[in-house]
Amino acid sequence: MKIELNVNGKDYSIEIEEHLRLIDLLRDKLNLTGTKEGCGEGECGACTVIMDGRIVNSCLVMAFQAHKSKIITIEGVEDEDIKNAFIEEGAVQCGFCTPGMILAAKSLLDKNENPSEQDIREAISGNLCRCTGYNKIVSAIKKAAEIKRGGRNV
């Protein structure tokens, strides 16, 4: 069947198999391999993408359900503040959770310029990290928010 969608600002009209999930469409058909599959059950959040303004697990959305939607994957994140903050704060280790974490962070900061620590922890509560212990990721998101509010530069 055919679906139309917009991924990272680009329109696609694409033939898909019925059983395809959104993550398969992104990775196998569109070569957007920055979206990772860690569990396939919506537990780890590595496959997080932004769909029509909200974060979703792309392993728990069927590709045909993404018809007419607007998807942002890690490859489409233009926000350098968040990415730089992750690098600066040592929030990146093995990197497999990083794309999902950054999209969860972006989704938070798009709506809330001045999040509390609790807001940040809540926003990334659907994303598992096995390396950092989370604190450095929380600091990175705090720092990104600060920079966005016109605070100190990196």
């Binding site: 069947m1 019925e18 059983h19 999930r21 396939g40 059950e41 919506g42 537990e43 959040g45 997080t48 769909m51 909200r54 974060i55 979703v56 697990n57 392993c59 728990l60 959305v61 069927m62 045909f64 359900q65 018809h67 969860a104 989704s107 809540e122 926003a123 509560s125 659907g126 994303n127």
Partner: protein
């Protein structure tokens, strides 16, 4: 997976047409957060998926007279942030907020939570305490059923293969009423409830319980009303002795229900604390406010 076709109807009528045509060969998909896992594990093997997430008439919350009506396609995120649901319904919002993770709440729907009939369905518990009424629609027409009568067994409901659950409605709580919810999970996010309770309470000025409805999750085959404790508490003045007796009744009842399972002792004791927290939250709301710590 053996899928042959997937449809995205834009109206309820169109969805019911597909359902009439494919019946048990098809499955309804909305948020998909449970269904896709079952599909991939081969637990279900439909030929057709009917996606109702594009049907706007099934989404959102409406105030109809003294009732609140929730569309089955309303996501947990939308429910948790709905301004129509007043403070007295905090228990329902708390439950919606406690489902899965932000990603799951953005997709998962209240209708899916009900139709899956999981014993641990978070949002079903407060809806039971609100004595909600479901509307099921098919090509043949509409029928209404109380949520408390909807579950037949673990994962089994009263829905027929040509029906769609369209709305859930309950009376809007008013003065002296409140709805509390509390959940015990292994961790804060993505934790399947170990035990959850919701309490709907109406109490008068001298703390006499006019109405109490208690619902539990994960202490039976499906979310259910706790009638024994309701019957005991109705009409009594809520004081420490009454509460202690009620807790004893609850412990005994749950222990007997779970007898033979290795969780029986833990759950029957822990349930008392979880119920008490839900009750105190309801009480606080019925009394018109104040903050309760989790």
């Amino acid at each position: 997976m053996n899928l042959k076709a997937c449809y995205r109807p834009l109206t309820l009528k169109e969805a019911l047409d597909y359902l009439e045509e494919y019946k048990d060969k098809s499955k309804i998909i909305a948020g998909g957060t449970d269904l896709i896992i079952k599909l991939r594990k081969g637990n279900i093997n439909p030929q057709v998926l009917i996606d109702i997430s594009f049907i706007n008439e099934l989404k959102g919350v409406l105030e109809v007279g003294e009732y609140m009506e929730i569309g089955c396609g309303t996501t947990f995120y939308d429910l948790a942030s709905c301004i129509l649901l007043n403070e007295r319904l905090k228990g329902l919002k708390d439950a919606a907020r406690s489902v899965g993770s932000p990603q799951i709440r953005n997709r998962g729907t209240i209708g899916g939570n009900i139709c899956n009939a999981s014993p641990a369905a978070d949002s079903v518990v407060p809806l039971l305490a609100l004595d909600s009424i479901l509307t099921l629609e098919s090509k043949k027409g509409k029928r209404k059923i109380y949520l408390k009568d909807f579950f037949k067994d673990k994962g089994k409901t009263d829905i027929r293969d040509d029906e769609i659950l369209t709305t859930i409605k309950f009376k809007t709580p008013t003065k002296n009423q409140g709805l509390g919810f509390y959940k015990l999970g292994l961790r804060k996010s993505l934790a399947i409830s170990r035990i959850s309770f919701s309490v709907f309470l109406e109490i008068d000025d001298i703390n006499r319980i006019e109405i109490i409805r208690v619902a539990s999750g994960s202490v039976g085959k499906f979310p259910m009303r706790e009638y024994k404790i309701e019957n005991y508490l109705t009409g009594r003045i809520l004081d420490e002795d009454t509460l202690n007796t009620a807790l004893e009744i609850l412990e005994k009842d749950i222990y007997e229900r779970l007898n033979g399972r290795n969780t029986a002792r833990f759950k029957s004791i822990a349930a008392k604390g979880v119920f008490k927290k839900a009750l105190l939250k309801a009480l606080c709301l019925a009394k018109g406010g104040g903050k309760i710590e989790d």
